[in-house]
């Protein structure tokens, strides 16, 4: 069905949501992605991806607790759903399958020998 395709960036965000399960909200996801991949993202980029993922049904959200820095505002926590999990899985399988399709590669290290 149109609209449930999982984009590359969305996959990354979805994956991270699963990784920090239970405490996944925009700020923590940005931090986690930076920690694991070194990519510096803005809050809005990740938030937009989350909104989109929620629309596709890959995550669902609920309002969680607050901290002092947030000035009493609650955070919206995102949790991966079963369809989200299977979409991730499918993406991984496609990848693995294609990895296995790569023939033995021999690299020419010209100039080294």
């Amino acid at each position: 069905m149109k609209g449930t395709h999982l984009g590359e960036f969305e996959e990354l965000v979805l994956l991270t949501t699963a990784v920090v399960d239970g405490n996944a909200y925009t700020v923590s996801i940005v931090a986690e992605i930076e920690k694991n991949t070194g990519r510096k993202l803005t809050l809005s980029t990740v938030h937009t991806a989350l909104v989109r993922l929620e629309k596709k049904g890959f995550v669902h959200s609920y309002m969680g607790g607050t901290t002092k820095e947030r000035g009493g505002r609650r955070r919206r926590l995102y949790k991966i759903t079963a369809p989200g999990y299977s979409a991730l899985n499918k993406a991984r399988e496609t990848r693995t399958k294609m990895w296995e399709m790569i023939p033995e590669l021999s690299f020419d290290f010209k100039g080294l020998t």
Partner: protein, 861 residues
């Protein structure tokens, strides 16, 4: 250190645009980010925070956008677009025809509108335009004079308090201009008051509006003339010489933008009027060739005429009964609505504007009728849809809204198509109309406004009827047909038939009208004018050329291929002045065109004498007149005019009567004409009758001789007289081609209308045809069955259309002095053409229907 907080103003922005649903979360996230960053560095933090807020803006989080797309109207709009799209896709031909019909109709109407708008808005660019009037004079003749004496302007300004300001324009005919080495003939030269630049709104590029023309020897020129004479140099302060100034030179004191085309005054040079005669002359009641413009309030107009008259009569000791009538014309009206003597303004023809506009409106109506018919016909197929919708719970207003919205979609689309069509016809339009009028909606945004108005208007006119009709079906009747429904369908059929009849009659009127207009115009052009105009070359004389006139005449006579050379004050095709000529018994006199010529004039123009003889050369000092038949009848009645005395400035004798000929054009009737033999006058023209086969040699020889005789003058310009007559009929020629084009479009629209209705009929009766065929009916018989209805419709349309066309044609023709007789064949022909068109287009459709194998149709049952 004071504790830092995220800037409140940035938060406000977020709160302003962000959807409530996300606001708490997003703001919390942002604050968390802020305090996190604060731990490391606080440089530009507020700015970075603000940028982040901005980056959060997207449509999914925007309050107003989300509100918009959840609006029920938006949702139903989306549905309507979808349904319209599907319906169009289902029947491409009908959709295409409805679209093209509308697009054509709208474009033709837009074109007519743009043209009419242009013609009707002459001289609107002057800021004081609403208060500027031209003072002409009613000299007691048939037409008022556009021009007055030179002293009129100052007289009015000084003696009539309601006249706020005044500017005079004196045209300079036939002069050359000299600047440095360049010496060229120029036409657009005027002497004007210095107030002309402040009274009228001509845009100054260089120089001062108020003082540019104060000096008697100053001149102001247009940008393109500055370029022509001075190239890229700065023209200010340069000197120019005019032939008419007899050796004095003028200083350029200003440059104005080229005069806009929508101006009845067209000029290239403005010279200061203060060099035109001394103070005394400037105030004298002489030189009746001055256009005087005054600024005044509208309510004072009648007052001004009165005051002018009283002041004039007291000052010059006239009596109350003296004839003195001023004619004040608002300058907007000069272009289209005046037909005054002595006027050489840029003129249009109000009639042609009306004709084109009504044709445009007719074509639009025809295309609308097509649209309505096709929509209703298509809609009948959707009766089941309507029934179903109603059953499910739709109310009638909703259905009407739906149908109207569908029409709106089509209309908007057709409007866009017509914009494209306008873009495509722009070059043709330019050529035909001779107007440099942009038709693309970007440089002429007025078109878009007009188009919007048209589309909305059409939505009301052609959208409501189908919507009301179609939404009127009762569900039960449609799904299970009863007697009353077929009654209703019949009723719709009646209204549709009326529409078709209206459309046919309009087409008949348009076709006949076009033919009448066309034949009247060709009649005008081909009518024998009563003199030779095809083999005449003209040389317009000026002061420098007149200096060696005898030598020129001798040289010309020597050139082989030239049959006759004549000198005259005026020539046919140009304006000839009108003055009072008296007879001995009649001191009141007769108003007559009066001109002077030498004895070769009649021979050169191959004019025939009906009585008497040509000017006698034997007695050079005697005053001799030749008059035309009209003048003879007016002055002498039944008496023999030969030998009678005529008085014009002095008494002379009539020696000949020339047959009436049309010395102007066929727009006007033959007027009285008096030709006086005069040897000591400022000749206006040399007319040369040449052999057509040696025209090239004649032209080059004339050129050579003129170089010989006038070594320091610009090349002598020669014009063909028939070119001049071509110019006189330019408007007619253009109208002719436009009328043809519109006529063609009408025919195409009519055909497409018939086509639509016929294919519907054939479609509806497909089963009937198939069954009849199975039972053994022949093709031709069935085609007749289907065509019969059309013939009846056409018959009724002809009953309305033919008399209508006849009435309109005679109404239009009555204003022409020379009318083509309306040939009944035109009417028979137009009726035949319509009949053939209907048979051909509907026959084609029907033929296809009757030729289908009955099995393919019947197997569906």
């Amino acid at each position: 250190m004071k504790e830092k907080y995220p800037p409140r103003w940035a938060d406000k922005i977020l709160e302003w645009y962000c959807l409530e649903y996300y606001l708490e979360e997003v703001q919390g996230d942002l604050h968390e980010w802020y305090f996190e960053k604060l731990k490391h560095s606080s440089r530009f933090l507020n700015l970075r925070y603000f940028l982040l807020v901005l980056r959060y803006f997207s449509l999914v989080r925007s309050k107003s956008f989300q509100k918009l797309i959840s609006n029920p109207n938006y949702l139903s709009m989306k549905k309507i677009l979808l349904i319209t799209y599907r319906n169009l896709k289902k029947d491409k031909i009908s959709g295409f025809m409805r679209l093209t019909n509308l697009a054509f109709g709208i474009s033709v109407f837009l074109l007519a509108l743009v043209y009419a708008n242009y013609e009707l808005n002459y001289d609107r660019f002057h800021e004081k335009g609403n208060n500027i009037y031209r003072i002409g004079q009613d000299g007691g003749g048939t037409r008022a004079w556009a021009a007055g004496p030179i002293g009129l302007g100052p007289f009015a300004l000084e003696n009539v308090p309601d006249v706020k300001s005044m500017a005079r324009f004196i045209p300079v005919r036939e002069t050359w201009m000299k600047a440095g080495e360049k010496k060229l003939y120029e036409n657009g030269v005027f002497y004007v008051d210095s107030s002309a630049l402040t009274l009228f709104s001509y845009e100054m590029v260089q120089g001062d509006k108020r003082t540019a023309l104060s000096d008697p020897w100053s001149i102001v020129l247009t940008e393109s003339m500055a370029k022509k004479y001075f190239g890229d140099e700065d023209p200010m302060g340069k000197t120019m010489q005019l032939l008419v100034d007899r050796g004095e030179s003028r200083k350029v004191t200003g440059v104005i933008k080229d005069v806009p085309p929508q101006s009845h005054l067209q000029f290239d040079f403005l010279c200061s009027i203060y060099s035109y005669g001394d103070e005394n002359y400037q105030r004298s009641w002489r030189n009746y060739f001055v256009y005087t413009y005054i600024e005044a309030d509208e309510e004072d107009l009648s007052n001004i005429s009165e005051q002018l008259k009283t002041e004039f009569l007291t000052r010059y000791n006239g009596s109350e009964d003296d004839y003195f009538v001023s004619v004040l014309t608002p300058i907007h009206k000069v272009h289209l609505f005046t037909n005054q003597e002595k006027d050489n303004a840029d003129h249009g023809n109000a009639y042609y504007v009306y004709i084109l506009f009504s044709i445009g409106a007719f074509v639009l109506i025809i295309s609308c009728i097509n649209f309505i018919n096709l929509t209703v016909i298509k809609g009948l197929d959707r009766a089941k849809e309507v029934g179903l919708r109603k059953t499910v719970g739709a109310f009638r207003p909703q259905l009407i809204a739906q149908f109207m919205s569908e029409n709106m979609v089509l209309l908007v689309f057709a409007g866009m198509c017509s914009l494209l069509i306008l873009l495509m016809v722009e070059p043709f339009f330019k050529e035909l109309s001779g107007l440099d009028l942009p038709l693309n909606f970007i440089s002429n945004p007025q078109i878009l406004l007009t188009l919007t108005a048209i589309v909305l208007g059409l939505e009301l006119i052609s959208g409501i009827y189908p919507a009301v009709v179609l939404s009127n079906f009762k569900p039960a009747e449609i799904i299970k047909p009863l007697g009353s429904t077929s009654m209703k369908l019949k009723k719709i059929g009646v209204i549709r038939k009326i529409l078709i009849i209206a459309q046919f009659s309009l087409s008949v009127i348009l076709v006949i009208g076009s033919i009448v207009v066309y034949s009247q115009l060709s009649y005008l052009k081909e009518q024998d004018l009563g003199f030779e105009k095809d083999q005449i070359l003209l040389v317009k004389l000026n002061w420098s050329l007149s200096q060696k006139l005898e030598a020129l005449k001798e040289e010309l006579a020597k050139i082989p291929g030239i049959n006759n050379v004549s000198l005259s004050e005026d020539v046919p095709g140009y304006r000839i002045s009108m003055e009072t000529v008296q007879t001995l018994g009649n001191p009141e006199g007769v108003m007559s065109r009066i001109t002077a010529s030498d004895e070769n004039f009649l021979d050169t123009y191959n004019m025939e004498l009906s009585a008497g003889e040509n000017f006698l050369t034997s007695s050079p000092d005697q005053r001799q007149f030749i008059i035309n038949e009209t003048m003879a009848a007016l002055s002498f009645g039944d008496r023999d005019p030969i030998g009678q005395k005529l008085i014009w400035r002095d008494t002379g004798q009539v020696v000949g009567v020339v047959k009436d000929f049309n010395f102007q054009s066929l727009h006007s009737e033959v007027e009285p004409l008096t030709i006086i033999r005069n040897l000591d006058i400022n000749w206006g023209y040399v007319s040369i009758q040449f052999e057509p086969q040696s025209v090239d040699r004649v032209l080059s020889r004339i050129n050579e001789s003129s170089q010989e005789i006038y070594p320091d003058l610009p090349r002598m310009e020669t014009t063909f007289l028939d070119d001049r007559f071509g110019q006189l009929y330019l408007a007619e020629n253009r109208l002719q081609s436009i009328v043809w084009a519109f006529c063609l479009i009408t025919i195409v629209l009519t055909i497409s209308g018939i086509f639509g209705v016929a294919s519907y009929n054939a479609h509806k009766r497909a089963k009937e045809i198939a069954i009849r065929k199975v039972l053994g009916a022949g093709s031709s018989e069935m085609i007749w069955q289907l065509l019969k209805g059309f013939v009846v419709l056409l018959g009724s349309a002809l009953l309305i259309g033919l008399p209508g066309a006849y009435y309109l044609a005679t109404w239009w023709l009555q204003d022409f002095a020379y009318q083509v007789s309306i040939n009944p064949i035109i009417f028979v022909g137009a009726a035949m053409v319509m009949l053939i068109l209907i048979f051909a287009s509907s026959g084609l459709v029907t033929f296809k229907a009757t030729n289908t194998n009955p099995a393919t149709i019947l197997k569906n049952e």
